[in-house]
Amino acid sequence: MKRSSWTDYQKDIADDNYYYARSCIRQNFFPGSEKAFLNILSKDLGRNIFDDPLHTSCTGIGYHSDIVPLPTIMTVVARQFSLMAEAGYENFTSSCITSFGIYTELLNTWEEFPELEEQTREALYKATGREFAKPKNLAHTSDVIFHHREEIARKAKHRLVNAHTGEPLRVVEHIGCHYAKIFPKSGIGGSEFPYVLAGMVEEWGGEVVDYPERRHCCGFGFRNYLVQANRGYSIANSHKKLESMSPYRPDFIVTNCPGCSMFLDKWQYTIAEMEGTTYGQNGCGIPVLTYEEMAGLVLGYDPWELGMQMHQVDVEPLLGKMGIEYDPSAKYLGRNGKYIGCPESAIVNSRAKETLYKIKR
């Protein structure tokens, strides 16, 4: 694909001194990714990043589910920004795409409607006694990794290449809808041909797969997942994407959105149970990685340290392809070598874990 248009959509990404805002979903489902991000920035790249224990959820899920009203979320977001200013930072980076979308949307809202900014300033002060502030630079954490992709490439221990054949790995990149579909200028490469993940993949030796449903939503859709009766819509979207990408035989999917990672991963299990369909090679699912996990593997992190045992679809086939050395049996050992429990075998993972790896308990 001749992606030329991404250069038309450039944005300023701060080089150092970030204030970090976590993601609700990732903290729970991919906690290793956020930890890896902090480690990569501070240890590998030597950048300053502040993980503030005072910050909260942006309440974006509640907002998009019609539970949290606009004035409330504006105040919550203003508090986040205020915390950042108090901590002495002006570069805000958010781990969550929903949050990133919210922050972008609200900053634009305040720009367009100064009276709302005024109301928020007042509400923030009344509620918390804090001073209103706005970040100088707002970036999603994938933007930050994208920004440092060349440096990471220089320090790479592995490349996104099949270690046995030397062929580049075929990667499906999936961009969260709220990354650039609301404000195309806020994303690298715009909304039609976002380059934020593709840039990383290409820099690190992989090959990006462009498939018909590339732009399509993963199906999370807030209300569509949260109400059980609507989940049929939610899964139908993932189903559509997986059907569309599977003929390209991708080695893995990488996403920059917490919801997408979760749904593209876990719906594979659901679809396998409902229809018996799996989309990956050898009857398995397609591993779904976060960009931090992808960067972590490239930088030589241990997959279990990256939290990849939390995935629904087993990542071992991918690790094998990349030639990464790891202890298969240590998969379910936690930080202190303590057994954290092992999920049941699922259709989506064709091999029984116990027998294959002699999981240590």
Binding site: M1, K2, R3, S4, S5, G190, E192, F193, D210, Y211, P212, E213, R214, R215, P247, Y248
Partner: protein, 336 residues
């Protein structure tokens, strides 16, 4: 003898010069390219009669060459324009009695509608590219095969707020239907789909051509704008649109997508307006005094407009308007 400077050597400028000459007024045509003819020079055939553009342009060029008191300056631009004097990029100064602006339009750059993948995917072409292919007499896909299914998308860069083009470019619908017929004639077994928002068949013979495309050539018309184009694994293009007449989303893959690009006002129009006290319309096209009795006169005495500088027009309308300009100038000069 009175002398007029015409800026733009497209069909409007040429026709205007020819008509002025026949009224006993001399004219100089300034053309920035190295040849006359403007956009028509690269067009293949004209709707609704499928007349070769060459025939029209050939006749016009012949008249232009034969007409007395016309001089042509190619490869130069006007740097300073006043009703009585035009300064050229060469530094030459041309004294005159009035100026005609016939600088035409800019073809919409389909790259801006990036969701259609022009310049990104193979086999996404514009209507102008297709005319070029017709001129070469060869329509093939990048892999050398013949297309089996072709889609034409109307209103690319027209009636689209997202690209700041609110206006209708008028000629693309008719062109789309014409090209669909031409494609069907070249590839009778191919499926041709036109995706449109409205079909605007405003002129004589256009509606008849549309009906012929439907009934005789079995061109499919789907009312709905394509939302996105993506590649398929076999190198084709997948389109998504809503079939609004059934209220259902629709997707299909095609071998070739033709984007019917609209007419955009020249970037320079704003500058012209600012520098010489002229007026632009919201669409960016120049604004004549009114749309009726003074539709070719600018608000500046002695500066006239001809052709698509004021709005999208078909070839026939442009030629008519250029004739009108000559008559109005004569009239105006007599009143001076």
């Amino acid at each position: 003898m009175k002398h007029i400077v015409i800026i733009g050597g497209g069909i409007a400028g040429m026709q205007c010069a020819v008509e002025l000459s026949s009224l006993g007024i001399s004219a100089t045509v300034i053309e920035k390219e190295h040849a006359t003819g403007g956009k028509l020079a690269s067009w293949h055939r004209l709707f609704p009669s499928f007349t070769p553009a060459e025939d029209v342009l050939g006749e016009l060029r012949l008249k232009f060459a034969k007409a007395a008191n016309i001089s042509l300056r190619c490869g130069v631009t006007a740097t300073e324009i006043t009703p009585r004097k035009v300064t050229l990029s060469t530094g030459d100064e041309l004294e005159c009695d009035a100026v005609v602006l016939a600088t035409g339009f800019t073809l919409f750059d389909a790259r801006i509608k990036e969701e259609y993948g022009y310049g990104i995917y193979d086999n996404v072409v514009t209507s102008a590219d297709l005319e070029d292919m017709f001129n070469r007499g060869e329509i093939v896909l990048k892999n050398g095969n013949k297309p089996r299914r072709i889609a034409l998308l109307h209103c690319v860069g027209s009636r689209d707020e997202k690209v700041c083009q609110r206006h209708c470019s008028k000629v693309c619908c008719v062109t789309g239907v014409k090209q669909a017929i031409e494609l069907k004639e070249m590839f009778p077994t191919a499926d041709v789909f036109n995706f449109y928002m409205d079909i605007r068949m405003f002129g004589p013979g256009y509606e008849e051509m549309y009906r012929e495309a439907q009934v005789k050539h079995n061109v499919h018309f789907v009312r709905g704008r394509i939302s996105e184009v993506s590649p398929t694994i076999d190198g084709r293009l997948q389109l998504k649109a809503e079939d609004t007449l059934t209220g259902r989303p629709l997707k299909m893959s095609v071998d070739m997508l033709v984007l019917l690009v609209g007419m955009r006002a020249n970037e320079e129009n704003a500058e012209l307006a600012a520098r010489y006290g002229l007026q632009c319309q919201e669409s960016g096209f120049m604004k004549p005094q009114d749309n009726f009795m003074h539709n070719v006169e600018s608000n500046v005495e002695g500066i006239f407009y001809a052709g698509t500088i004021t709005s999208p027009k078909s070839v026939g309308e442009t030629l008519n308007e250029a004739t009108t300009v000559a008559l109005r100038i004569k009239d105006w000069l007599q009143k001076q």
